[in-house]
């Protein structure tokens, strides 16, 4: 679900085909019939943006028919844990959870916790706000629990306030009929999928869930995935071979750029960014962000080692290991928040590296307007992108709303090396780092990111060399020495990896994050990657063929943490440490050696912790995790069916309609996710939804997506002849029924209109797009791949022009996958007439700012 794997990950999809050959059954739940559906055993069409409803139906079926894996749920999840009496579910509060604060538009979370715990996440935070997500939503790695144990739980799971009972009540209204009416599928589809999953789970079998940006790009993106987590925990499909939830990424190394983040609110290894007021010192930071128990109980060691990696000799106990040098996050500085601040004149300059917001971001017109407010812009890419050329050439120039003379932004273009022209690693969905070697030198002035950033850093440090200003110390004291190699004096990427992996003060290499110390005697650039350079060897560069080792193939690449190929693999054995079944044997307790052993993977559980280990009340860190609790990153070692902390929009997923929808929320009185982030303003107006006047002006659901033949915003594929010719023009996909209704003719043109813009596309009338019956009405989908723009061998309008900014409050991703639109036959008007067309729609729909 939420993935078109055959099209977007064709290389990985070979393993799905192989699994099918060996008897696996593939079910594809997706609004469209895609190349993935074509290869599936069953395709279920659902309305875009109703994934939680569908999954809720599956969860409800599993709960109502007692198909959950009892022993797994009882011992390995928080199903038995009793919640606070003050907690109110969406059942009780008409679509809200308890703690809703309508004035601030956010939740106070003090009622969400386990009964008997403080009313807060670690360190006394009582509100989950989207705006200060640095140490809150991302950083809430759990609450403090004495001895790693929830104060109250009921192993019979019959207590009315235990998680399993709360879940059962919460999902009771997600009946097959109710779900089918929301999703536009048949009730039998819900039952069939639930039955197939339940049938294929348990001691003998496991099922996997695969998702991609079809789940994340929603105002409820995180909760889509939470819903899958609940299902997989109920069925016992986490930590076991053949199970799991596989997050397919949007690019080759998105996983890697989250682990060592290019995100504003986390540090390497998912350590939260400090907050200026709340975290004045290292001690306060650790107290606020690290629960005492579980793997995060050693946050101080991870943090001190990170600070040592960055500031080396300068980081000492006396100066709090340079904790004060770290930047502080005082608000939402995510992509869209930054672009809006830019639009308001609050950002002077931008380094835009490998990103093309003038085409690739939602509401691209607003993005370009923001870029025009910059003093300077640096674009690093393979060739000048629409973002690099926004000042000269854009749809806005064509409309006559801007001119090159009217834009003062100074733009610098720097050519970048491609992935075959630089060494480095890719991290895949399995957390597997795979090293790749440079095949050739980059041409001309093109350089790798490592080369560019390092030399830029050197120039800045040179300029600050004599500075006495304390604010320059973080730059001046940074460890910035790497061996240089090659034609372009490139920092050795191996040395960078070694720094990430970590070493002791004497220079010896670390084996795993268990070795990290909080006294400054170890340094490590990312605690989860500790050991990737174990024994002074680049472990990610191991390439022993799969045919020369067993199927776990542990001598190929390296997976964080601790080279674990299946994370939480303690769960592949029963509570007593025996395999759940011979067929699914993976990690088990070996009584004779007194340790965990496996088919070849490394147990990510403490190696000699016996299954019956019961931690003392005062235990901390991993010592506080019991011998039958596999989820060592949680303070209670349990998988969370219910999330007491960590999320801004509720401890359980609930179906909310997208920001723009032709339908009312049939399950709750609350139409959309109450915590979603919206930015109503002239350049970002929203369409009315069903039940609001004007909703019928934009009657169709619009979904944007990608094709195998192109890469994201197209600057890497529209410029390559062999790819450009394969999908040469922007097209939209519509059903024969919608085509008849709107007079759209196959192969000719259509104009798609939203309150943001109007674009033209060739028409593909296809049976692969099915009208769905929702709430007694027919729903039409307009499908729009978003690869085109103004630069390249093939060009065209960009679908992202049409989209509004409406974001998930946890991670600030925009709802690319669903909005509303109108569609007309024929090409769009040119010049000011396009603006006039959009204005006329706005007036008819009563859309103001």
């Amino acid at each position: 679900m939420g993935s078109n794997m055959a099209e977007q990950h064709p290389v990985g999809f070979q393993w799905v085909i192989e699994a099918k050959e060996r008897g696996a059954k593939v079910i594809h739940v997706d609004p469209r019939f895609t190349r993935t559906s074509a290869m599936a055993d069953r395709h279920v069409s659902i309305r875009a943006g109703t994934d939680i409803a569908f999954l809720g139906g599956v969860i409800n079926y599993v709960l109502a028919h007692r198909r959950w894996f009892t022993d797994y749920v009882r011992h390995y999840t928080n199903g038995p844990v009793i919640l606070k009496p003050e907690f109110r579910d969406t059942e009780d509060e008409a679509g809200f959870f308890s703690g809703w604060n309508p004035d601030d538009g956010l939740y106070g979370i003090d009622t969400w916790g386990y009964d008997g715990t403080g009313g807060e996440t670690a360190g006394g935070k009582t509100e989950q706000t989207a705006d200060v997500s640095g140490d809150q939503s991302q950083g809430a790695h759990g609450m403090d629990l004495e001895g790693g144990e929830p104060p109250h739980y009921d192993d019979t799971m019959e207590h009315e306030r235990c998680v399993l009972q709360v879940l059962t009540r919460h999902f009771a209204r997600y009946t097959p009929e109710a779900v089918a009416d929301i999703c536009g599928c048949a009730p039998e589809d819900v039952v069939a999928v639930a039955e197939a999953m339940a049938e294929n789970s348990g001691r003998e079998r496991t099922s996997a869930v695969v998702y991609a940006v079809g789940w994340t790009q929603h105002t409820v993106g995180v909760q889509n995935i939470r819903a899958a987590s609940i299902l997989q925990l109920l069925l016992g499909n986490i930590g076991r071979p053949g199970g799991g939830i596989l997050a397919l990424r949007g690019h080759a190394n998105i996983q890697g750029s989250t682990d060592i983040p290019t995100l504003y609110d986390i540090l390497p290894g998912y350590i939260p960014m400090p907050h200026p007021q709340r975290n004045p010192t290292l001690d306060t930071f650790v107290a606020e962000n690290g629960p005492a128990t579980g793997a995060w109980g050693n946050l101080r060691s991870y943090m001190v080692s990170l600070l040592k990696a960055w500031w080396g000799e300068a980081a000492t106990e006396d100066n709090d290991y340079c904790f004060g040098h770290l930047p502080r996050v005082d608000g939402d500085h995510s992509h869209y928040a930054m672009m809006l601040r830019m639009l308001d004149g609050g950002v002077q300059g931008m380094l835009c590296v490998g990103q093309n917001p003038a085409v690739g971001s939602a509401n691209s017109g607003l993005m370009r307007a923001a870029l025009a407010k910059l003093d300077w812009l640096v674009v690093r890419d393979f060739q000048p992108t629409e973002t690099a050329l926004f000042w000269r050439d854009s749809p806005d120039h064509e409309d006559g709303t801007v001119t090159a003379q009217g834009i003062d932004t100074e733009v610098f273009f720097l050519p970048a090396a491609t992935h075959v022209e630089k060494d480095g690693s890719f991290t895949n969905t399995q957390r597997l780092l795979q090293w790749r070697e440079k095949a050739c030198e980059p041409p001309g002035d093109a350089r790798s990111e490592t080369q560019w950033i390092w030399h830029l850093g050197c120039i800045i440090r040179e300029k600050l060399a004599d500075s006495e200003d304390p604010r320059d110390r973080p730059i001046r004291e940074l460890t910035w020495a790497y061996p240089l190699e090659g034609r372009d004096a490139e920092p050795d990427p191996d040395a960078v990896l070694a720094e990430i992996s970590g070493c002791r003060a004497d220079g010896t290499y670390l084996d795993s994050y268990d070795d990290l110390q909080d006294d400054g005697s170890t340094s490590c650039g990312s605690w989860i990657h500790c050991g990737v350079y174990k024994d002074g060897v680049n472990q990610s560069a191991r390439k022993k063929p799969g045919t020369e080792q067993n199927w776990i193939a542990r001598e190929w690449g390296w997976a964080w943490p601790k080279d674990t190929r299946i994370i939480y693999n303690r769960a592949s054995a029963d509570p007593d440490g025996r395999p759940w079944s011979e067929r699914k044997r993976y990690v088990w307790w070996d009584e004779t050696s007194g340790s965990w052993t496996s088919l070849g993977d490394g147990p990510d559980f403490p190696p000699t912790k016996a299954p019956d280990y019961d931690p003392p009340r005062d235990a901390r860190g991993l010592a506080a995790i019991a011998g039958d609790k596999p989820f060592i990153l949680h303070p209670d070692g349990r998988g969370w069916l219910y999330s007491p902390t960590g999320l801004t929009d509720g401890p359980l997923p609930a179906h909310y309609e997208p920001q723009e929808s032709p339908f009312v929320n049939a399950l709750y009185g609350q139409q959309q996710s109450p915590t979603r982030q919206t930015y109503p303003r002239d350049k970002n107006p929203y369409h009315p939804s069903d039940g609001v006047a004007g909703a019928d002006v934009f009657p169709f659901v619009l979904s944007t997506y990608r094709l195998t033949e192109h890469h994201t915003a197209g600057s890497m594929s529209r410029t390559v002849s062999y790819l450009a010719e394969l999908q040469p023009e922007f097209f939209c996909e519509v059903s024969p029924q919608l085509a008849a209704e709107r007079g759209l003719r196959h192969g000719e043109w259509a104009t798609i209109v939203s309150a943001r813009n109007a674009v033209e596309a060739r028409v593909m009338v296809t049976d692969r797009i099915k009208p769905l019956r929702v709430q007694g009405r027919v729903m039409h989908l307009v499908g729009a791949p978003y690869h085109w723009g103004g630069v390249g061998i093939v060009t065209g309008d960009s679908a992202n022009e049409l989209l509004p900014l409406s974001l998930d409050s946890n991670v600030h991703i925009s709802e690319y996958k669903v909005s509303t639109c109108d569609i007309q036959a024929g090409r769009r008007p040119r010049g000011p007439a396009r603006v006039a067309l959009v204005d006329s729609y706005r007036r008819r729909a009563g859309v103001r700012e």
Partner: protein, 297 residues
């Protein structure tokens, strides 16, 4: 099973290699077009921008001088009752397919989306090669059919001779270009670029007799799983070209994929045509002679 042709392997003597070819199993083609791209990159085949065709996801139209691999996309609407309990969807529903080990491909929701990568067939009886007056087209030591671009004079005789419409003249240089089965790579013990790039192993490269056995086994499995329309195309010698070096497993009639159902070596009947013409000439001559002589008589 007949693999030999009159110019191979005998004429190569000890240099002859096993006859190599492609088995394209369209039942596992996911339509990614990696074969088209890999072929063009390796062989420096120029871009052929033809715009939006509206022909499903196929914008490369057909094989030609500038396209040596081509992926066809066929969207089919299946009547709801067409499956009649025998389709793989329903077999999978019953769980029976788990035992058979094969499930549905490219079918569902009343819609079926067929994808298939087409290529030069490297015919056993290759008319292109027979009609080539310069010897530019030749049979390699691997039994494949290759155009030598430094010999081709652009006469174009081979173009109408090909029963599949594969041979084609490049507009700007007048010469004929087609799939070489990556002759250069074969000589370096490497598989052709398309087969190497194919992520699902839909394109399989190898010794032809081994590929044929593999294809028979695959077909049997699909048939067992109820895919009764599955068939092999050009796998044996029982056709008008006496078999192909590149053959296919199809899930429907060849015409559905744009392939000729009954391709014929276009020079197959040349001998009998000339014989008939000769006989006709003789008869005509005899008649004329008779008329003349008779007139005199």
């Amino acid at each position: 099973m007949k693999l030999e042709v009159h110019t191979w392997p005998a004429t190569y003597g000890e240099q002859a290699q096993p006859r190599m070819g492609f088995f394209t199993d369209t039942s596992i083609c996911i339509g990614c077009k990696a074969c088209e791209v890999a072929c063009k990159e390796w062989n420096h085949v120029p871009m052929q921008l033809q715009g939006f065709t509206g022909n499903s996801y196929d914008n490369s139209v057909d094989l030609g001088a500038d396209r040596w691999r081509h992926v066809a996309f066929v969207e089919q609407r299946l009547p709801a009752d067409a499956t009649d309990g025998g389709s793989l969807v329903q077999i999978a529903e019953r769980g029976a397919a788990i035992d058979a080990g094969v499930q549905t491909y490219q079918e569902g929701d009343g819609v079926r989306w067929l994808m298939a990568s087409d290529v030069c067939k490297h015919c056993t009886d290759a008319a292109c090669l027979e009609v080539c007056p310069t010897g530019s087209l030749f049979r390699t030591e691997f039994g494949t059919v290759v155009v030598q671009e430094d010999v081709c004079n652009g006469c174009g005789y081979c173009v109408p001779a090909c029963p599949f419409g594969v041979l084609d003249k490049r507009e700007d240089d007048g010469r004929v270009w087609k799939c070489t089965l990556c002759y250069d790579r074969l000589r370096d013990d490497q598989e052709p670029a398309c087969a190497q790039a194919c992520p699902t192993n839909s394109i399989q490269f190898g010794e032809l007799d081994e590929l044929r056995e593999r294809a028979d086994r695959r077909l049997a499995r699909l048939r067992d799983a109820g895919q009764d329309q599955a068939r092999l195309y050009l796998a044996d010698e029982d056709n008008g070209i006496h078999g192909a070096g590149a053959f296919f497993l199809l899930l429907d009639e060849p015409e559905v994929y744009g392939l000729p159902p009954d391709p014929v070596d276009t020079v197959r009947d040349l001998g009998s045509i000339w014989a008939a013409a000769g006989a006709a000439a003789l008869a005509l001559g005899a008649g004329l002679a008779a008329a003349v002589l008779g007139g005199r008589g």
